[in-house]
Amino acid sequence: MFLSVTLALLEGMGTTFQIFILTLIFSLPLGLILAFGAMSKFRPISYSVNVLVWIIRGTPLMLQLIIIFYGPGLWLDYNVWGGNSAGRLTATVVAFTINYACYFSVIFRGGIQGVPVGQREAGEVLGMTRSQIFFKVTLLQMVKRVVPPMSNEIITLVKDTSLARIISCYELTFTGYSFMKAASITWPLFYTAVFYLAFVGILTILFNYIEKRLSYFR
């Protein structure tokens, strides 16, 4: 029994990890683009981005997930996601990417705007080019500002992946839950928790390391 639960949970973990890593891969660059959009001097762009971010951050991810998964089928009378598990995973990653890109954009924006203008001006006065100022002066200061809020958000993402259960994506929590439903046993649920704790634990160690590496300056 223990072995079969372990194997099933590992499989669920695989899906959870896929949601996690794919969401990061897509939402980090999209978040950066949205951050620049929000800071754009061209009003229509900054305004639209701000409205989007406001809507996404102001509504539950679970609701967004449901709308994105079921919405197209009902509006177009055609299920764009397909009926299989790959389709569910894709829908999940799309919903998560949009959601997390919005959160990340706010963090990126804070990091970019948090570097005092005096840093850029000091570089200009010393005859540096724009790209030298960005890469040699401001970038690392932005990274330092962004890492702590980013690590919080990424750890939240690990746990948010369990929301995918609502559209029957067979991720980790769904797997643990299915044992309880089928066999009326609760220990697989606690075992599931151990998987999350290990995942979050590794990330915490990683982020602590990065923060420490950046702690030599203020």
Partner: protein, 259 residues
């Protein structure tokens, strides 16, 4: 013709006229002190000199070369902007050191980046960098910071940070040093150490424009003093003329408030 000539500079931010027809000239090796109450446009004037702001009108000439002329096209004025800027070294009120670099790295960074543009850079990289480091160490020693070279800005006092900032500006070998209230952000007991290195620089013949509230320094070191109010030069003269015999009522009122 004087070394630095500033003619009829005007600067508007939107509808606010921050500088109104500002003209002055400064001889090579001289120190000019600019005094005036807060909001009178002193910082804006310095920022116009090194193009952190673009003047709305006017002309700036250094050593006979016209750097800026509002009659020119924008493209003409922006041409070689970086090398034009390097005529001036700038020391900010808030230091603006790069926090991720040590004192020495702060001093050498821009010089090393500039050296990369040298066509012989690849061949002589080692020697070029060694020479830049050498110069940086010398400058920091001159600032009394030989022991602090490998400290990061947050490990230094305000006075030490500002001296690193002065060394950093000097590293680019500017013809003119601009100081914007270099001691205003410092605890009173740290003001002296910064003023001392500035005095030393002035004695060595550096051409300097110093915006300051340190009237003692202005009186002792300035060859020329400008009093600004509401974006205009109200009165200009030698330190003696301005401090002992101010002619304008506004100058008198300002000095009586501050002294």
């Amino acid at each position: 013709m004087a070394f630095l000539e500033v003619e009829h500079i005007e600067k508007n931010f939107g509808n606010t006229k921050v500088l109104k027809d500002v003209s002055f000239a400064l001889e090579e090796g001289n120190t000019l002190a600019i005094i005036g109450s807060s909001g009178s446009g002193k910082t804006t004037l310095l920022r116009c000199l090194n193009f952190l702001e673009t003047p709305t009108k006017g002309k700036i000439t250094v050593g006979g070369d016209v750097l800026f002329n509002s009659d020119w096209s924008e493209a003409e004025n922006n041409k070689d902007l970086r090398s034009k800027r390097l005529h001036f070294g700038m020391v900010f009120q808030s230091f603006n050191l790069f926090p991720q670099y040590t004192a020495l790295e702060n001093v050498t960074l821009s010089k090393k980046l500039l050296a990369k543009e040298d066509p012989d850079f690849k061949k002589n990289k080692k020697e070029i960098y060694a020479k830049i480091e050498e110069q940086g160490k010398k400058l920091l020693a001159q600032m009394g910071l030989a022991e602090r070279m490998n400290h990061y800005p947050h490990q230094l006092s305000g006075g030490q940070q500002q001296r690193v900032a002065i060394a950093r500006a000097l590293a680019m070998e500017p013809a003119i040093m601009l100081f914007d209230e270099p001691t205003s952000a410092l605890d009173p007991e740290l003001v002296g150490e910064v003023l001392n290195v500035m005095k030393e620089l002035a004695r060595e013949g550096m051409t300097m424009v110093v915006v300051t509230h340190e009237m003692g320094f202005a009186r002792e070191m300035a060859d020329q003093v400008i009093f600004m109010d509401e974006g205009q030069i109200v009165e200009t003269g030698t330190a003696e003329e301005i401090f002992a015999n101010p002619k304008q009522e506004r100058t008198k009122a300002f000095l009586s408030k501050i002294l």
